[in-house]
């Protein structure tokens, strides 16, 4: 029954896609009401599934797709397709459906008047279908298929306004960078399949527990599968596509690049968490840490409202990955869910501002909007408080858990590992700083562009209702009754870290004994309150700093900029990553293709043309020979024949008397012949 409902949830957006794509133009209002209501039905059903699934429930539905008994190299080759509904997928169902349906609703105003309106809803539908597919599958093969589908939907949606060069470039960049990660993902899948002969998660974990895949190969498989997450969740070094993806419509940014698709990488890591060896987890944590640091430093200098939010997303994703890397499974997943809500709210709020100012995105042109757009302002503020980690918000709880996890990890392992919590807290402070900078510059102070300010007004209900709903979900109460300690909340009990199946020698030192309650989780409890205090401190510092710069004008931002001009430029230009990639990798590739093109044009075409030239000359010569000599011969023969013909023609006079003379002549001949005989 749950399987059926889940399949309905899965296929409702697909239905929306098919209807919109084929009949969208003919429907009244181009079908936006149809797509939106289908998604809301899916949301309602997903709530049902969520409430029916307990923490340890696991419902699986499979169907056998390919079953070759005897293939040349592999022997028996079997692929089953299936879905699984457990705690992780149930929560993700709700998250995806909620954000998707609210984005549909929001788009009614944002995409008003766009010429490809019905197609937009179709693409949102196919994206939702693909994302739900990733969330529901129980095997790597099907997940890879939906993974790619999500990539394609993202490509289509980023490049929705493909008439402009910016979206063209950004969509290609997104897809190609994603593909680089996917190559690693696929290689990891191959390693797993060759050794374990199954794509199914439970079978894979059972196989690893039985010791069929160990040592370097197991670590390699883990890291390679993580590569897919690096690509999809925009981790260093494949983070470059996410800021450019802001070229797409804002609801698309909210749906895909804040809340769901980028979260798919994190989801993947949580799914295969149990097969990660200690080395793989170190890699994961390190990459997460690097990512969050880099993007936070870039975010403080950006001037486009969507770019700030984009880098903020990358940074928060780094947090989640880092949390998973250090072993704070519950915390990482918790942050995923809360981040979905408040980041979507932030993006939709930004979208509301953009609509109001007639598609102005530079915050240096904004200001003082809080008087004009009250609902937008208050929801935006609520979400900012959540992301900064201010108490009474959901973000406070989730970020806290992560920071506590890093502290526990550091204390258990000591030494260099203290860099994780240090970076974590530093970035928390930075986050608070740049988010409040954004709020202050956008909504407070004097309007810098008087004209746009005059025309601004609050957005209609289809815009503000999603904002309100998402802001409400950024409130702490949904996740834990206790505003300070989330570990007593239902979430922590719902999502607990699963036992790892990695061989003993490949685990972290403190996990090498099998204990009932993990040592790590114990440590987290120890560090819970210290982490909370420290995070409050850094958050407060960041907020104060932001106010000092931008509201009370105690320090002048420009003066500081001048002092650290090189650093400022480094940050503003995104650490020159794009330029590096363009210059070295892309340019190198282009040079290589140029060389190949030269080779093809000059050498190969030269050979072909040369052959053609020789053939042509030979043909001409042969033709001349044919014309002059051979024809001459033929003509000569012809003229001989004609000559003799003219002579012999005279025999035929047409007169019988002549013929009679011939007869007589013949008689003479016969006479002599017979006489001689």
């Amino acid at each position: 029954m749950l399987v059926t409902i889940s399949l309905i949830i899965l296929f409702l957006p697909l239905l929306s896609f098919l209807v919109q794509i084929f009949f969208g133009k003919k429907l009244p209002r181009q079908g936006d009401w149809l797509a939106t209501s289908l998604l809301f039905v899916a949301l309602f059903l997903s709530f049902f599934v969520f409430f029916s699934t307990g923490a340890n429930d696991r419902v699986v539905g499979t169907v056998s797709w390919i079953d070759f008994k005897d293939t040349p190299v592999l022997g028996s080759f079997k692929i089953d397709l299936g879905i699984v509904i457990d705690n992780l997928s149930a929560i993700m169902l709700v998250v995806v459906c909620m954000i998707s349906s609210l984005s549909h609703l929001f788009s009614i105003k944002y995409m008003e008047g766009d010429p490809k309106y019905s197609k937009y809803y179709a693409y949102l539908g196919i994206f939702s279908f693909s994302m739900l597919g990733i969330v529901l599958t129980n095997n790597l093969f099907l997940m890879y298929i939906f993974w790619e589908l999500v990539g394609i939907s993202s490509y289509i949606l980023i490049g929705f306004w493909y008439e402009k060069p910016g979206p063209q470039y950004a969509s290609k960049k997104a897809f190609i960078v994603n593909r680089i990660g996917d190559v690693g993902f696929f290689t990891g899948i191959l390693i797993i399949y060759i050794t374990l002969r199954t794509f199914n998660f439970t079978d894979i974990f059972a196989g690893i527990a039985a010791g069929k895949l160990t040592g370097g190969w197991l670590t390699a498989a883990g890291i390679l599968v993580f590569c897919g997450a690096v690509g999809k969740s925009a981790q260093f070094p494949l983070h470059v596509w996410l800021p450019d993806a802001m070229e797409g419509p804002t609801p698309v940014s909210a749906l895909i690049h804040a809340a769901t698709m980028v979260a798919a990488g994190v989801y993947l890591v949580t799914r295969v968490f149990v097969m990660m060896t200690a080395d793989a987890l170190m890699v994961i944590a390190t990459i997460g840490m690097i990512t969050t640091f880099i993007s936070a430093t870039i975010a403080i200098t950006q001037n486009d409202i969507k770019k700030v939010l984009a880098y903020s997303t990358v940074s928060q994703l780094g947090y989640m990955i880092m949390a998973l890397g250090v072993g704070a499974y519950t915390a990482g997943f918790f942050h995923l869910v809360t981040h979905a809500a408040f980041k979507a709210c932030l993006f939709l709020g930004a979208g509301s501002v953009i609509i109001a100012l007639h598609h102005e995105q530079d915050i240096r042109q904004m200001g003082g909007l809080r008087n004009k757009m009250k609902i937008t302002y208050y929801t935006f503020l609520m979400a900012t408080l959540a992301i900064s980690g201010v108490p009474l918000t959901s973000g406070f709880l989730s970020k806290d858990s992560i920071l506590a996890g890093t502290m526990a990890f550091a204390s258990l392992r000591g030494g260099i590992n203290y860099i994780f919590p240090v970076v974590g807290f530093f970035v928390a402070g930075l986050t608070a700083f740049y988010m409040f900078r954004l709020v202050l510059l956008t909504f407070h102070g004097e309007p810098r562009n008087k004209e746009k300010y005059e025309h601004a007004h609050e957005s209609p209900k289809v815009v503000t209702i999603p904002l309100i709903i998402l802001a409400i979900f950024s409130f702490f109460a949904f996740y834990s009754v206790n505003p300070i300690d989330a570990n007593t909340g239902w979430f922590a009990k719902y999502v607990t870290a699963p036992k790892t199946v990695v061989p003993v020698e490949q685990r972290f030192a403190y996990e090498q004994e099998a204990v009932e309650e993990s040592v790590f989780v114990e440590e987290i409890h120890h560090f819970h309150y210290p982490a909370m205090g420290l995070s409050l401190f850094v958050a407060g510092a960041g907020i104060l700093l932001a106010f000092a710069f931008y509201k009370w004008n105690k320090f002048s931002a420009d003066a500081v900029v001048e002092k650290i001009r090189p650093l400022y430029n480094f940050s503003l230009n995104k650490w020159y990553f794009d330029d590096f990639y363009d210059g070295i990798i892309v340019a190198g590739l282009l040079k290589f293709t140029q060389a190949l093109k030269w080779f093809d044009n000059t050498i190969i075409d030269g050979a072909v043309n040369g052959a053609a030239y020789i053939t042509e000359k030979a043909a001409t010569g042969s033709g001349k020979f044919d014309n002059s000599f051979v024809d001459g011969l033929v003509n000569l023969v012809g003229s001989f024949v004609m000559f003799f013909g003219l002579i012999f023609r005279k025999i035929q006079t047409g007169r019988i008397q002549t013929y009679l003379a011939y007869v007589l002549f013949g008689i003479i001949i016969f006479y002599f012949i017979f006489r001689a005989l």
Partner: protein, 110 residues
């Protein structure tokens, strides 16, 4: 003088000369009626031959040998029939072509 005594060969020579003259008329003359006259000469030469052999040819003793003459009768009759038809044709040709020159009756020629 023996040679001058008329025997079989003299008749045969006469017939041969007549035959040659008739042949010459056929081969050489253009007028259709001349050709017809040549044909008559040839036929007459043949007749002389038949009848000469009828008289001088060897016979089975006791039986009459008038075969040559019988044949000659038939030849004459056939010659008559043929001349009739030939003249009818020639007259028709004359009506159509206004000429009886064998050379000039060539409307079948391209």
């Amino acid at each position: 003088m023996e040679q001058l005594h008329v025997g079989l060969t003299h008749f045969l020579i006469v017939s041969a000369l007549l035959f040659g003259l008739g042949l010459f008329a056929i081969v050489t003359r253009k007028n259709a009626i001349m050709i017809l006259m040549g044909i008559e000469l040839v036929l007459n030469a043949a007749n002389i031959n038949f009848i000469a052999f009828s008289k001088y040819g060897k016979t089975i003793e006791g039986l009459p040998n008038l075969d040559g003459q019988a044949i000659a009768i038939f030849v004459i009759i056939l010659a008559a029939a043929e001349a009739v038809i030939a003249l009818a044709i020639i007259l028709n040709i004359y009506n159509n072509f206004k000429t009886v020159n064998a050379d000039e009756i060539d409307s079948l020629k391209e």
